[in-house]
Amino acid sequence: MIEWVFGKKKSFSDLDIPTSIQEVRRRSRILIIDDEEPALAADLRAASLSVDHVHDITKNNITIVEQEIYDLILLDYGNVGRSFGEDEGLSLLRHIKRVNPAVIIIAYTSKALKIKHSDFYRLTDGSLSKDAGIQESLEKIEGHLKKAHSIHDIWNDLLGRCNITPGSKEDLKLQDRVLRSYSKGTKKMKIIRELQEFSESEDGKKAIYALIAKSIQLITSSMGVN
């Protein structure tokens, strides 16, 4: 703390981000998007995970996947996301990845998709067959949740979008600024606006916002502020 006050640059390596699976479970929120609520939802809840289920995402409830509410989404392919395009779950996946890249999305289907829909597996962060056993599913989901709580993964994604080289002076300066201002609304917004300049598209700006918001969320919780 004394070093911070006297001007040593802060970086994410100073943070105490918990890695115990109990802590990850406690902090995580999962959304299942599936036209039928799978029995797995109850198994995940029984394992102390916070799980919500929606039958579909439409323009009316899109904000729940655009905001940084969930750490991980289990996304079915069939009978969901039709309001985003004819590729059902894949159309919805494309939208979420565009505006909220910080969220981990798992392809959750046991259907054998055609090769033209193989992006559903490629664009997601992993896949989980609905056939998978309970322990296998839980293990896979927890593995991804750990990643969702890795500030380094999220930060590197953000740097990539802002053309900043990880480990560069610019990166370290930005880390310092974010760590000094994470609880100060005006300064925080200034940083967000600056970084959003790196993207010309509205979706790109949303993505940058989502990544910073997620980073700040992780910083806040590591400081024990939440």
Partner: protein
């Protein structure tokens, strides 16, 4: 004979240029006997077909074969073929053409007849393909429904086992564990069937991570549980936990097929040994079993429809599919025969993958 079954309905004699053989008979015109004679006698026919395949400038012309008959290139749903063994009416093919037209009048067609035959054949072909696609879709739908039922059985059994013995569900009531593991086995078999129905799955990219030892360990546990009288041993180099890039949809087919085959063909009472070895930058998996002496066993068992043993069960598709999945993962697969004596031999299938990284 061509390996393409759709060639059976070609109106004219036809050759698959990707797998050149003597011409198949056409429905309207049979391949003349001279085609068979000449094809077997020398390489002139083979060279002629290869020239037609490789030279784009010849694709829209009638070309005379070395024995005076007519050939014309065609594409049928992206495969290279050639109609051949017929004769074109009119002043085509010079004196040799005239002589053949006189001696073989049943082979003569006009240019417009050729066009009609070709169009009809292409239409036929696309109709059959559509039919097959619809069939595959229905098949996939049915399989999906059966998977759902199996999932209910599997997850319910696992849930009960977990509630009885949370720390070691595999050690819960043996009957329940047996139900659970049998439905796990069914899931593995469904994956194989699904690939048979939808071969496009091997075109999916290997973008997921797979711990290869755990993949085999899981499969071994399933087979041990449903075959308690068989010995299956899994070994690994010490502290070797390689992770490879994998396609979640297909990777489990490899251990399923290899272990299933070993069980099917191993001698009663013998052990099936599986080794996971560090051959940096690769990991190698050897699946070995003792089997009855079979001098004709070779790498052709990786071809479609070839059975490891003529009196064995099975469709002859398992190893073919497993090899396709291995290749999807940029790996290699080979067969090694050793410890041969008058009674039996040791059969090892080796699969090799590039290691992505090691687990800590």
């Amino acid at each position: 004979m061509s390996t393409n079954p759709l060639h059976q309905v070609s109106p004219l004699p036809i050759v698959d240029l990707d797998h050149i053989t003597r011409p198949d008979n056409g429905v309207n015109i049979s391949a003349p006997s001279m085609c068979q004679r000449h094809f077997e006698r020398d390489n002139a026919c083979q060279d002629h077909y290869e020239r037609l395949r490789d030279n784009d400038n010849l694709h829209d012309k009638y070309i005379q074969c070395p024995h005076g008959l007519c050939s014309r290139y065609t594409t049928i749903t992206n495969t290279n073929s050639v109609f051949t063994g017929f004769l074109l009416s009119g002043p085509w093919g010079g004196k040799r053409g005239n002589d053949l037209r006189k001696s073989h009048p049943s082979l003569v067609i006009t240019d417009s007849e050729f066009s009609r035959y070709e169009t009809a054949f292409k239409n036929w072909h696309s109709r059959i393909l559509n039919f097959e696609r619809n069939l595959a879709d229905n098949y996939a739908f049915a399989l999906h429904e059966i998977r759902k039922l199996n999932r209910t059985v599997k997850q319910t059994a696992e849930r009960i086992c977990l509630s009885k013995n949370g720390s070691a569900p595999d050690q819960a009531d043996p009957d329940l564990v047996s139900i659970w593991k049998t439905s796990e086995l069914m899931t593995s078999q469904f994956n194989v069937i699904e690939l048979l129905a939808n071969s496009e799955l091997v075109q999916l990219e290997a973008v997921n991570k797979c711990e290869i030892y755990r993949l085999f360990d899981k499969c071994v546990k399933i087979y041990r549980s449903v075959n308690p009288d068989r010995r299956i041993q899994l070994h690994s180099d010490p502290n070797f936990y390689p992770i490879i890039s994998a396609c979640d949809k297909t990777i489990s087919i490899i251990p399923t097929v290899l272990i299933e085959n070993s069980l099917k063909y191993s001698l009663p009472g013998s052990t099936i040994d599986i080794y996971v070895r560090d051959t940096y930058p690769f990991c190698e998996i050897n699946v070995s079993n003792l089997t009855k002496l079979n001098n004709s066993l070779d790498e052709s068992i990786f071809k479609r429809g070839v059975r490891a043993s003529p009196d064995g069960e099975g469709s002859g598709n398992g190893l073919f599919l497993a090899k396709q999945v291995v290749e999807q993962h940029n790996g290699s697969m080979r067969l090694v025969i050793s410890e041969k004596n008058s009674q039996h031999m040791k059969c090892t299938i080796t699969v090799r993958f590039q290691i992505r990284f090691y687990k800590d």
